[in-house]
């Protein structure tokens, strides 16, 4: 017996209701625009790597921010966490001569503990995470500046590259992957070479590998494990989830730790790539991550969204941010476009949600 009201759903409406819808449209849209107006150099290997790197930076943060937002909370302390854990790594490695891998692991332990603290305060006090992590934003940034000045008399610590020479863990963040492949491609003439024989592009930065890796982990957790089910439920309706036996407090605390983890991956990639830490690093990154997540179709109210959407949101961010310098438009306009795209994405995903609930 079938209900006569249940007509088959057309393909387009099915696709329209996927959370990734807004971001897929956005990615296609910005590609078309930049194909039309940008210099061809944007789409050669060097160009592609430059905007995917930018996308990767935001994308690494967006994975954590996305899971947390689906779980119903925000973390505004991400940017400060980047500055803080980067400074922890640099000071330990450079000022105290600690092996880089120990510094990195220590920074991860410290930042995840701080993430735990954020989460613990949010679930115990039931205060909005917006306020709690706004406090952490200022506390952590202040601590970073104050401690680095106290210990090193400055807020910029350099010399990380020399101090971490040959360290196995540092090269997992600051190094390049597939260098052999790129050399091989250059020998084949697929990649151009400089006069001395080194390829123009020597490899893919590790942060790209981290972005892809974290995105895959995020997708698997959210889509295929019970923890994903719990994350959606916690953000969808916390009380109902509790009634059904979901440990919502644990879920939230784990998610705050995940955003702190992602921030520290970001910090490590920057510190070992640039060879320095700056107390002002990561400024405003929390908002950029949230923008990517929202452009990816997640709802600010929680319970809805996907990691692949956030990943595409980060890609849009990277394309527009870097792509604008390949066009005749002054890059001062980047933020204007970003804000307008954010507004457009939110309005679109809002109408999508209404449609889901009605269908």
């Amino acid at each position: 017996m079938t209900d006569e009201r249940l007509s088959a759903e057309p393909f387009f409406s099915r696709f329209f209701k996927k959370p990734e819808f807004t971001s897929v449209v956005g990615v296609v849209g910005v590609f078309l625009v930049f194909f039309a107006i940008a210099d061809d150099a944007m789409f050669n290997l060097e160009g592609v790597l430059s905007w995917t790197e930018q996308a990767a930076l935001i994308g690494i943060l967006a994975v954590g921010a996305c899971l947390l937002m689906i779980g119903g909370e925000f973390d505004l302390s991400v940017g400060s966490m980047i500055g803080f854990s980067g400074m922890v790594m640099a000071i330990m490695t450079v000022e105290y001569g600690v092996p880089a891998w120990i510094s990195i692991i220590s920074a991860f332990i410290i930042s995840c503990s701080l993430g735990f603290l954020n989460g613990y305060i949010v679930v115990k006090t039931k205060l909005p995470s917006f306020i709690v992590t706004l406090a952490s934003l200022f506390i952590l940034r202040g601590l970073t500046v104050a401690i680095s000045r106290m210990l090193t008399n400055q807020t910029l610590v350099g010399g990380v590259t020399e101090a971490s020479e040959g360290d196995w863990l540092a090269s997992l963040f600051g190094g390049e992957a597939f260098t052999g492949l790129f050399l091989y491609l250059a020998d084949l003439g697929i990649i151009e070479k400089f006069a001395d024989g080194t390829p123009v592009v020597t490899g893919i930065k590790m942060l790209l590998v981290w972005w892809i890796g974290l995105t895959i982990i995020g997708i698997v957790i959210l889509r295929l494990t019970k923890y994903g089910n719990w994350i959606y439920a916690t953000g969808g309706d916390e009380q109902a989830s509790k009634n059904m036996g979901v440990p919502t407090d644990k879920v939230k605390i784990m998610l705050f730790m995940a955003t702190a983890f992602c921030a520290t991956v970001f910090a490590a990639c920057q510190v070992f790539d640039y060879g320095s830490a700056d107390a002002q690093r990561g400024l405003l990154k929390e908002f950029e991550a949230i923008i990517a997540v929202v452009m990816g179709g997640a709802l600010l109210t929680g319970g809805y969204g996907t990691v692949i959407g956030a990943c595409l949101g980060a890609l849009i961010f990277g394309i527009v941010n870097i792509g604008i310098s390949y066009t005749a438009i002054d890059s001062d306009w980047f933020r204007v476009f970003l804000g307008m795209m954010l507004l457009g994405a939110v309005m679109l995903s809002n109408s999508v949600r209404k449609k889901i609930m009605r269908s």
Binding site: L224, K226, N229, A233, A240, S241, N243, M244
Partner: protein, 264 residues
């Protein structure tokens, strides 16, 4: 002689100096529907939350299957087969039907995946689809959002879930109070179906007509105390209505509003 599945004696619950339950005794047998009737503030929700393990009782005894419940929590009671379906708070609208169906009880659809466990959504969709079909609710596919279901269908989904996971006792908190006529009868029909499968049901409601339609026994709560438990053949809906309102109120009301108000 059947043994009661739930037995409470002289259960009291205090919140500070407020006495929410003042000595409630009740028993419940498999294959019966016990209706819990009472006005707002009578202690219905405190009683079900005590039975569900949300609040620990202040004093008295609470036995499940003849055994004392020590240190009750929602998890331990759920594992003992006591499932509570709260009005509006038992499904997540933005999640799919199958995700809702297995939420908090994912073990059945977990599949080994290297060193990890992943959820088998093919299996989940099939089980959820079949469970919904069995109770007469046709859904397009189990991956659609629960938000697309009607209120009655959502209640039925929550009940179907409890039954699927081996509930022996269903505690239904006002499952029909926000529903229209057709939706309510869908839920009431399902309650009878559960009873026919030898489940025990505690049905909390304001509506004596809904209660009378499916109930075997009726316990009336008033100001934290029971006004007694009645078999169906001992009472009429009018009696129940009167007892529920504490007798006096309705009489006053009928004087004020005229004869018609008796059928309220």
């Amino acid at each position: 002689m059947k043994k009661p599945i739930i037995e409470i004696k002289d259960v009291k619950k205090h919140f500070g100096n407020i006495i929410a339950l003042n000595g409630i005794s009740m028993d419940l047998y498999p294959g019966e529907v016990m209706c819990l009737l009472g006005d707002n503030g009578a202690g219905k929700s405190t009683l079900i939350k005590t039975l569900a393990g949300v609040h620990p009782k202040s004093s008295g005894t609470y036995k499940v299957d003849g055994k004392d419940v020590v240190d009750p929590t929602p998890e331990t009671l759920l594992n003992a087969g006591i499932a509570t379906v709260y009005q509006d708070l038992s499904t997540i609208p933005l999640m799919s039907i199958s995700r809702n169906f297995f939420l908090g009880r994912e073990y059945e659809i977990e599949k080994k995946w290297g060193p990890f466990k992943r959820l088998d959504f093919k299996k989940a969709n099939k089980i959820a689809f079949d469970a919904m079909k069995e109770i007469g609710i046709n859904i397009r596919e189990a991956s659609q959002a629960v938000g697309t279901l009607s209120g009655g269908e959502r209640q039925c989904l929550a009940i179907a879930k409890a039954v699927h996971f081996g509930a022996k006792v269903l505690i239904l908190d006002e499952p029909t109070s926000a529903l229209g006529v057709a939706q309510s009868s869908m839920v009431l029909k399902y309650i009878l179906q559960a009873r026919a499968n030898n489940l025990a049901v505690i049905f909390i409601t304001h509506n004596v007509y809904h209660a009378y339609a499916v109930g075997d026994r009726f316990t009336i709560l008033n100001r934290g105390q029971t006004l007694g438990t009645f078999n169906k053949d001992e009472v009429t809906t009018a009696d129940l209505q009167e007892k529920m309102a504490g007798g006096k109120v309705i009489q006053d009301l009928s004087q004020e509003l005229g004869e018609d108000s008796k059928n309220l």
